[in-house]
């Protein structure tokens, strides 16, 4: 395998990628992306999760620790098949808030705080640097494998030189396609497509090597299974702690890795793609790991003792003389390494430029920069950042000497980025998470991770002295970096995972619980947590005093002249203005900020607009106002409902009253004719008999008889008039009560005796319970007796039973005495029950006995005056009246 050919094919492959990216960019510029925006490309681009660490390292990992390498894929699998929990929300938030990176997400969620953005950026850069170094190392190692097989073997191969060239080449590619323009959504179609192509290449390469190993070297699947069982079982051991911990760690990493966030959230075109990727990406992962075990087993079998298992993918085909296959495998590994470095450096460069360089630049030259085209500054910052990231990776590679096993570095990087997980998950599910809590958690996690995992990875005596390893700093043994608080028995990796995340989460939660978020923070918190419930909160900007022209100038600096003018014109048109300058309404400022944040990040965009509009954006009072506004709305509608119910009730009552009035009016007409009749009858006989008397010469006995008739009729008239008078006095409340102690039994006796005068011919059975009547009441005895007489007389008059009976039941309850008068007649019809107590009301009955229909009305008035009541008791098997009277009448009112 000529080494030059290898270099040539490598270069050709890179040129091919350039071409792909270039063509796609050109199509994208024309807006004809078509199938390039399909879920397939999205899924394939997600495969940058599989780096050179996967491509080469997985086999090495399998050769060293058995099936444990699978955990690195199980975590992402679980996260993706459970996309409905987290990824869906993450992608929605990313699209809705124009998130440009994971640092931007965190900073935006916690009130567009740039300091948080800086912390996350630092974590990501520190964690990614060894990871990038790892990719460079893998390429160098791969070249080394081929160089070693060079027949001459004389070619001096300087690994450092290769690494430099690879780094420079990658930087060029990334700068060329990653910073072509400043997109509003920070999307890079060319790069995404190139990555998708690389994803296919690395998958095919691994599958080709795998099937060659299974078919070509081993004798098919059955043979491979036999070899797996025959392999040294001692090495195939899994520790439950590591197994579980690594699944969790890889699940966390797939969400938090900057490059994963970039392709998954930032480059996402359509949320529907996520649904497809939810199973297609795990499928890709499974395909990638399908042949890892066979390659490892066969490699251990065939290759000499001491061969680097990380390179089995290359050395196995080479040892079997399959040069072309080895070349293909090399390209696969090269693809894995390059795609990871490209996307990682773009993601990191976006963070560095948006959260570190641009804010610094704006602070250093706040006024002088007003005229500059900020886009060039941003793009230049990105380019510098990309170069810096790659330089850092290269530097790390040089310093570390590229000796550590690939898997270990990968896990350390995973753990580093996982420190962002609590702040992120807390941020999108818990509205109570605050900026202070997030900062505390992140810093704690970063420090603990560095102390327990990152620094020790350089080995004792390098970053941390051997003494610190053995005895702990300052001799504090409970602070030993790999045995915090005396947890010596733990695996170092799991130890670091456990303590860094535990302390991180504790700091995050405690910090959040004990601090109060600012208004912008609360607004953003609500907007993130309730992202599926539509827009929340008030406008973020008060109507400022800003000149629209100043805004346009600023927007032009970031978006470019044409895009900014188009945006402003559209907004102006929406406001109904025919110019380029819309009014700076809160809504317009909001949309402008959101657009700008797609280019320079939420924190910077917010800072730039507040520089023009003024600091006073949203206040706690505004939030309260919104809260109370909606509360008022709710209350208002509740009040409306209550009022409606009240109206319905009132209408019902009115209808009832109206019915009653109509009936009363009829009754009154009837009564008027009745009373005229009542008045007229005695008057007629009085007049007739007095006329006879005035004619004289009548026998004396006749005179006596006529005189008696006249007297009786006059008495009847008087009684009628007395009743009317009595009623009006009672109604006016000007009645004089003579309150004294009286026996209830005595009163009922009196009443029964007096009522006997009514229809004396009827035999009436009265049923009484004398002991219960032994009550002394403090009341007006005469008036109460009058009521009793009336009720008893009514019973005597109207009870139509053949053997009439009257039951008098006395009960005493809570300071009140009730006396029920129940007869065994047929009672009072239901529709008449409401009317009987009205004045002038009288039932049109057959056997009426000459009353004027005022009796019950008078009774009611009396009872009201006595502080009690009289009511009709339905359902007693006859007419029944209940008189309720207080035991002691308070004379205050009277």
């Amino acid at each position: 395998m000529p080494f030059n050919l290898l270099v040539l094919s490598c270069l050709l492959y890179v040129v091919f990628l350039f071409t792909v990216a270039f063509l796609v960019e050109r199509r994208a510029a024309r807006g004809r992306l078509g199938w390039l925006r399909s879920p397939l490309v999205y899924t394939l681009s997600l495969s940058i999760y599989c780096t050179a660490w996967t491509f080469y390292g997985a086999v090495g990992y399998a050769a060293r620790s058995g099936l444990e390498f699978l955990t690195i894929y199980f975590g992402p699998t679980l996260v993706f098949i459970g996309w409905w929990w987290l990824l869906r929300k993450l992608v929605r938030i990313g699209r809705q808030h124009n998130v440009t990176s994971i640092a931007d997400l965190i900073s935006s969620r916690y009130g567009k705080s740039n300091s948080l953005g800086v912390i996350v950026t630092v974590i990501m850069v520190v964690a990614a640097t060894p990871y990038i170094a790892l990719q460079l190392q893998s390429v160098v190692l791969a070249f080394g494998v081929f160089a070693a097989t060079e027949p001459g073997g004389s070619r001096p191969l300087d690994p450092g030189q290769i690494a430099v060239w690879v780094a420079v080449g990658l930087a060029l590619f990334t700068i060329l396609f990653g910073t072509r323009n400043l997109d509003a959504r920070e999307q890079h179609h060319g790069i995404v497509t190139a990555i998708a192509v690389e994803a296919v290449v690395k998958l095919l390469a691994l599958l080709a090597v795998g099937s060659f190993v299974v078919r070509g070297i081993a004798g098919g699947v059955a043979d491979v299974i036999a070899r797996i069982d025959a392999a040294d079982l001692a090495a195939w051991q899994v520790q439950p702690g590591r197994w579980t911990g690594l699944i969790f760690l890889s699940a966390a990493a797939v969400i938090c890795l900057p490059r994963m966030f970039q392709v998954m959230v930032v480059e996402n075109e359509d949320e529907g793609h996520l649904a497809r990727a939810s199973w297609a990406f795990p499928l890709y992962l499974m395909a990638m790991s399908l042949f890892i075990v066979p390659i490892a087993v066969v490699g251990l079998d065939r290759l000499p003792e001491g061969a680097n298992p990380d390179m089995f993918v290359l050395t196995l085909p080479l040892a079997e003389g399959q040069g072309a296959l080895a070349m293909f495998a090399f390209l696969g590994g090269f693809s894995s390494a390059t795609s990871m470095v490209i996307v990682e450096s773009i993601a990191l460069a976006t963070m560095i430029s948006n959260h570190v360089m641009i804010p610094l630049w704006l602070r250093l030259r706040p006024k002088a920069a007003a005229g500059d085209d900020l886009r060039q500054v941003v793009l230049m910052a990105r380019r510098l950042a990309i170069a810096a990231v790659l330089a850092l990776g290269y530097g790390y590679y040089q310093v570390s000497g590229g000796s550590a096993a690939l898997a270990a570095i990968g896990l350390i990087a995973f753990l580093g980025v996982a420190q962002v997980l609590p702040a992120m998950i807390g941020g999108i599910f818990w509205r109570g998470a605050t900026r202070t809590g997030a900062s505390l958690g992140l810093v704690t996690g970063l420090v603990v991770w560095a102390y327990t995992s990152f620094l020790p990875s350089f080995g004792p005596g390098a970053a941390l002295s051997a003494e610190v390893f053995a005895q702990g700093p300052f001799g504090l043994s409970w602070l030993r970096p790999q045995a915090l608080f005396g947890t010596e028995a733990m695996d170092p990796m799991i130890h670091a995972l456990f303590w860094s995340l535990t302390l991180n989460i504790m700091a995050f939660c405690l910090g959040s619980l004990f601090t109060f978020p600012g208004p912008v923070e609360r607004l953003q918190g609500a907007a993130f947590v309730n992202v599926f419930e539509g827009a929340v909160g008030p406008q973020r900007w008060a109507r400022g005093q800003v000149e629209p022209e100043a805004l346009l100038t600023m927007a032009q600096r970031i978006l470019g002249e044409d895009a900014a003018l188009a945006l402003f014109q559209e907004a102006a048109r929406a406001q109904g203005k025919d110019s380029f300058l819309p009014d700076p309404t809160p809504g317009f400022l909001d949309s402008l900020e959101s657009r700008l944040s797609g280019s320079v990040g939420a924190a910077t965009a917010h800072a730039m607009i507040s520089q023009l509009v003024g600091r006073a954006t949203v206040t706690v009072e505004d939030l309260m106002a919104v809260a109370s506004e909606s509360a008022q709305l709710l209350e208002y509608s509740a009040r409306l409902e209550a009022r409606e119910a009240e109206l319905t009730r009132t209408a019902g009552a009115l209808r009832e009253a109206n019915e009653k009035l109509t009936q009363l009016s009829l009754q009154k007409d009837a009564f008027l004719s009745q009373i005229s009749h009542e008045l007229r009858t005695p008057m007629t006989s009085i007049r007739a008999f007095s006329e006879i008397l005035t004619e004289g010469d009548l026998p004396p006995e006749q005179v006596v008889r006529y005189g008696k008739i006249i007297h009786d009729e006059a008495k009847r008239l008087t009684r009628l008039l007395d009743d009317l008078l009595d009623l009006s006095v009672l109604e006016n409340g000007s009645v004089q009560l003579t309150v004294g102690l009286a026996s209830l039994q005595g009163m009922i006796d009196t009443a029964l005796t007096a009522a006997r005068a009514t229809r004396p011919e009827r035999e009436f059975t009265v049923i009484r319970d004398l002991p219960s009547e032994a009550i002394y009441l403090k009341t007006d005895a005469d008036r109460l007796t009058q009521v009793f007489i009336n009720l008893i007389s009514n019973a005597r008059k109207y009870c139509d039973a053949a053997r009439p009976e009257l039951r008098i039941v006395v009960r005493q309850r809570a300071g009140r005495v009730t006396v029920d008068f129940i007869d065994n007649g047929k009672g009072i019809p239901k529709d008449a029950q409401r009317l009987i107590f009205e004045k002038f009301a009288r039932l049109t009955d057959a056997n009426r006995a000459g009353g004027a229909g005022l009796g019950l009305a008078i009774c009611r008035e009396i009872m009201t005056n006595l502080g009690g009541s009289v009511a009709y008791l339905p359902g007693q098997g006859g007419a029944a009246f209940r008189v309720t009277v207080p035991l002691r009448l308070e004379t205050l009112a009277a």
């Binding site: 199980f74 679980l78 409905w84 797996i228 709710l634 509608s637």
Partner: protein, 87 residues
Amino acid sequence: MTRRPKPPLFLARAPYRRRRLRDAARLLPVLGLFLLLLPLLWTPDARMALTSGDVIYFFAVWLGLILLAAAFAPGLRGGEGAEDDED
């Protein structure tokens, strides 16, 4: 600011099925985690030795999860538009 109408307490058949599908999608990773951790209980010791049977088991579980996720995905995507019947 509009008042959200109170969501209905009971649903028609189709939305009901869609909602249960979401529940299933949420439960799937839990099932997956259980199945992937299950082999840890197979051997009485804290440390276990893996054989080809284990390799086949893991890949079978993996494939099963992928197939289930693939079966759920179209139904979930269809419900994407109706955000208001969230939960």
